[in-house]
Symmetry: C2
Subunit: 134 residues, 2 copies
């Protein structure tokens, strides 16, 4: 598997509007897209920082993954997404090296990208996403 | 304040050797430096991923900040560091916007960079570092 860069850092926030105001007004970044990802029960806001994005995630449902995360741990960094050429091949590669997968095959995520998640129990506590065009 | 990119993602790990083996052997990244930062009570390992670094942090003392973090939350993402031109000016800027600072002035961090931390209570739960040559 070849990782080219960190595609994005996913950050769980309690309130998307308040978080956008902080990232724009205090940190000086610019939100370029807001998107609801229905099957993940989140509303997302994207910022570009160098070759990486920040993806803010507000839960649209307390029973969704971000709702549960915030209830357990509070707002903060939720996951890291690494950019790879071919998500299915990368998932197969890391599984062969003993990583437990959340997604056995790629699925569609925000911004139309292919994504697959690795289980944080296999990745030293970091919920890890592999992410790519393919 | 102008942020050019994410300088690094700091990740707390229980065992640095085991973590380096995972980031190299499973994710295919290459560790290019190991450094002990005595005043932070950590041993660090660095990987370059695009224009961002991953900084793995193993505590050298259970009473140090990483030791306490792991005891409370377990291993995982510990902080995000944004690259800025002038750390002192950036600290002054965000303080004027209501951010509580951990470091009132820049100090020396790993790799000889100037660093200053913002308090996670002011940054929506993300322990945030500002980092630069100046």
């Amino acid at each position: 598997m070849s990782i080219s860069h960190i595609e994005h850092v996913g950050i769980a926030v309690a309130n998307l509007d308040e978080a956008i105001a902080y990232y724009e007004g205090t940190l000086g970044l610019k939100c370029y897209a807001i998107e609801e990802v229905t099957d993940q029960k989140v509303k997302t806001a994207f910022f570009k920082v160098g070759d990486t994005k920040i993806e803010l995630l507000e839960s649209t449902d307390p029973e969704g993954p971000i709702g549960k995360f915030i209830e357990k741990k509070g707002p903060g960094v939720h996951h890291l997404a690494f950019a790879v050429d071919d998500v299915n091949k990368a998932l197969t590669d890391v599984e062969a090296k003993g990583v437990r997968l959340i997604d056995k095959e790629k699925r569609k995520g925000a911004e139309g990208l292919s994504i697959g998640f690795l289980h944080p129990k296999s990745t030293l506590g970091v919920l890890t996403e592999l992410c790519g065009e393919e």
